[in-house]
Subunit: 294 residues, 2 copies
C-alpha cells in the first residue's frame, strides 16, 4: 500500500472512533450536540490522533485503551479551534472552507459547544480506565491534561492573543509556538508512548521529537499563511497579518523560516531513527507534515 | 463548636486546598493565571467541595484523595460562572460584589481563563491517581466528568440559554434546573460517596438526595432573585427577568415555588436520615442551603 492510501485508512479509522465517542444529536441538548459534531466531523486531517496511534504502535502498543485518548485529543483540538475563531479572539467566520462553529450556531453556542467538547475529551479519557486500570492509563491522563492546559496549549494561546500587535522577543515568540502548537503534538505522541509502556528515556525522546515536529509544523503553517491562497488553505490566507500575529516569517523572513523548519525536521527524523523501535509509516507521516506545501 | 464556626473552618480548609492546586501567577502566562485566581479566589461559599467532603466523611472516607476532587469541583463551578457572565451569554459585569472576570480582564481572557480552569480541574483530578490508584478513583473521575459535561451541567446551561425569552414546558424547565444546578451538586456528593467506597445503593441514594438539594437550591436562588436586593445578593437582583429566564417563580409564582422547595428539602432530609451513616454537620449544611434567606 502506498502512503496516501495508508493515511486515508487511518483517517477513516479515527473518524470511526470519533463517531463512537461523540454522542448522537438528540434530546433537549440537541443543538449543542449538533454543534459539537459540526465542529469535530468537519473533514479534519486527524493528525494528532494518528500521530498518537502510530507512536503507540512504534512502542509495541496493540490494545484498545488508545482509542478514547485518540478521540479525546481530536476533541481538544476541535474545541481549541472553535474558541479561537470566536469574535473576541481571532474572529474567523470560516474554517476548512465552511462556516466556523459560532458563525453557524451563534456565539453563545460556540462558547458552550467548545466547553462541552473540552469536558467530553476528559469524559472520554475516563472511559479508558474501563479498558485498562493500570498505572499507564493514569500517567497518560496526567500527561495529557498537563499538555492541553495552561502550561501547555492554552498557555500558548493566551500569550498569543495577549501579544497580538506587540513587538515581542524571539524567545517569547518561540514560547507561543511551542505551547500553542507543539504542546498538543507532544500530548499526542507522548500519550502514545506512555500507554504503550515505553521506558522513561523513550518517553523523553518522544517528547523531544514531538516538540521539533510541532514547532516545524507551526512555522510551516505561518509560511503557508503568507504563500498560500484562501482556496488552497480552506481558510482566509494572510490572517496572521490581519490579526497582527507574531510569526517566524514576520520576524526572520521566509527564507530563514524555511531553514528553521529544515533544521527542526532533520533533528526530529534523526532522533526518531535513533530509537530502538521502528514504524516506517510514522516516519513518512512526519515527513509529510513538515515538508507539506499546503 | 456551633454550625457557623464549623462552616467557617471548612470554608478555610477548602481555600487552603485551592491555594495548593492553583498555580502561582508568574511566567509568560501570568495574566491568565491571575485571571484564574481572580475567578476562583473570590470569596465563594465553597458549598460544592464542602458537600463533597462531608459526604465522603459520612461514608467513612478519611484520606487525602478527596482533596484534588474538592479543588476540581470548585474550579468547574468557577469556570462555569466566568463563561456564564460573558457578553454572549448572561452579560453580567458584576459577580459577588465585584467585576466579573471578563469585565476585569477582557473578553478574550475571560474565555481562555474559563477554558484553563476547566482543563485544570481535570489536571487536578489526574493528580488523585498519585494518591490512590484504586478503582474508586477511576470511577469517581468518570462520574465527575459525566455530571459536569453535556449530559450534566453544560447541558442545562445550553438549554437555559437557548430557551431564554421562550415559553417552555414545565418539564423542560425542570430539565434545565436539574442539569444546570443539581448536576454539580450530584457530582459533589456522589464523588464523595464513590471515593469513600460507599455501596451501589448508598451511591444511588446520595444521587437522589443531591438531586433534591440541588433543585431546591436553584428554586431558592430564583426566589431570592425576585425578593432580594443587589446589596444582599452581591449581584444585580432581578437578573432573571432581565435575561427572560424561565424560572419556577415565573411559571408558578412565589408561593408555589416556596412549597416546592419545602417538599424537595424534606424529602432530601428524610432520605439522608434513613441512611445507615450519620453526619450531623452535613444535615445542618443542607438545611442551611435550602432554608437560606439570602
Amino acid at each position: 500500500m502506498d502512503f496516501k492510501t495508508e493515511l486515508e485508512a487511518r483517517t477513516e479509522r479515527v473518524d470511526a472512533i470519533l463517531e463512537k465517542y461523540l454522542p448522537e444529536a438528540e434530546g433537549p441538548q440537541k443543538t449543542v450536540l449538533e454543534a459539537m459534531r459540526y465542529s469535530v466531523m468537519s473533514g479534519g486531517k486527524r493528525l494528532r490522533p494518528i500521530l498518537m496511534h502510530e507512536t503507540y504502535s512504534l512502542f509495541g502498543g496493540r490494545e484498545r485503551v488508545i482509542e478514547p485518548f485518540m478521540a479525546a485529543i481530536e476533541m481538544i483540538h476541535s474545541y481549541s479551534l472553535v474558541h479561537d475563531d470566536l469574535p473576541a479572539l481571532d474572529d474567523d467566520d470560516y474554517r476548512r472552507g465552511r462556516k466556523s462553529t459560532h458563525a453557524a450556531y451563534g456565539e453563545a453556542m460556540g462558547i458552550l459547544a467548545g466547553d462541552a467538547l473540552l469536558n467530553l475529551a476528559f469524559e472520554t479519557v475516563s472511559s479508558a480506565f474501563t479498558i485498562d486500570q493500570g498505572p499507564n492509563t493514569a500517567n497518560a491522563f496526567s500527561l495529557f491534561a498537563r499538555k492541553t492546559g495552561v502550561f501547555g496549549m492554552i498557555g500558548g494561546q493566551v500569550v498569543d492573543v495577549e501579544t497580538e500587535g506587540k513587538q515581542i522577543s524571539p524567545d517569547l515568540m518561540r514560547f507561543i509556538h511551542e505551547k500553542k502548537t507543539a504542546a498538543l503534538i507532544e500530548a499526542a505522541m507522548m500519550t502514545g508512548a506512555v500507554l504503550a509502556g515505553a521506558s522513561r528515556m523513550d518517553i523523553t525522546a518522544t517528547g523531544s521529537i514531538a516538540h521539533d515536529v510541532g514547532l516545524a509544523f507551526q512555522i510551516r503553517d505561518d509560511i503557508l499563511d503568507v504563500t498560500g491562497t484562501t482556496e488552497t488553505l480552506g481558510k482566509p490566507a494572510g490572517s496572521d497579518e490581519k490579526n497582527s500575529k507574531n510569526t517566524y516569517v514576520k520576524y526572520f523572513g521566509l527564507e530563514k523560516a524555511e531553514k528553521e523548519v529544515e533544521i527542526l525536521s532533520e533533528r526530529a527524523l534523526a532522533d526518531l531513527s535513533s530509537l530502538s523501535y521502528e514504524n516506517p509509516f510514522l516516519t513518512e507521516l512526519i515527513k509529510s507534515l513538515v515538508y507539506r506545501n499546503k
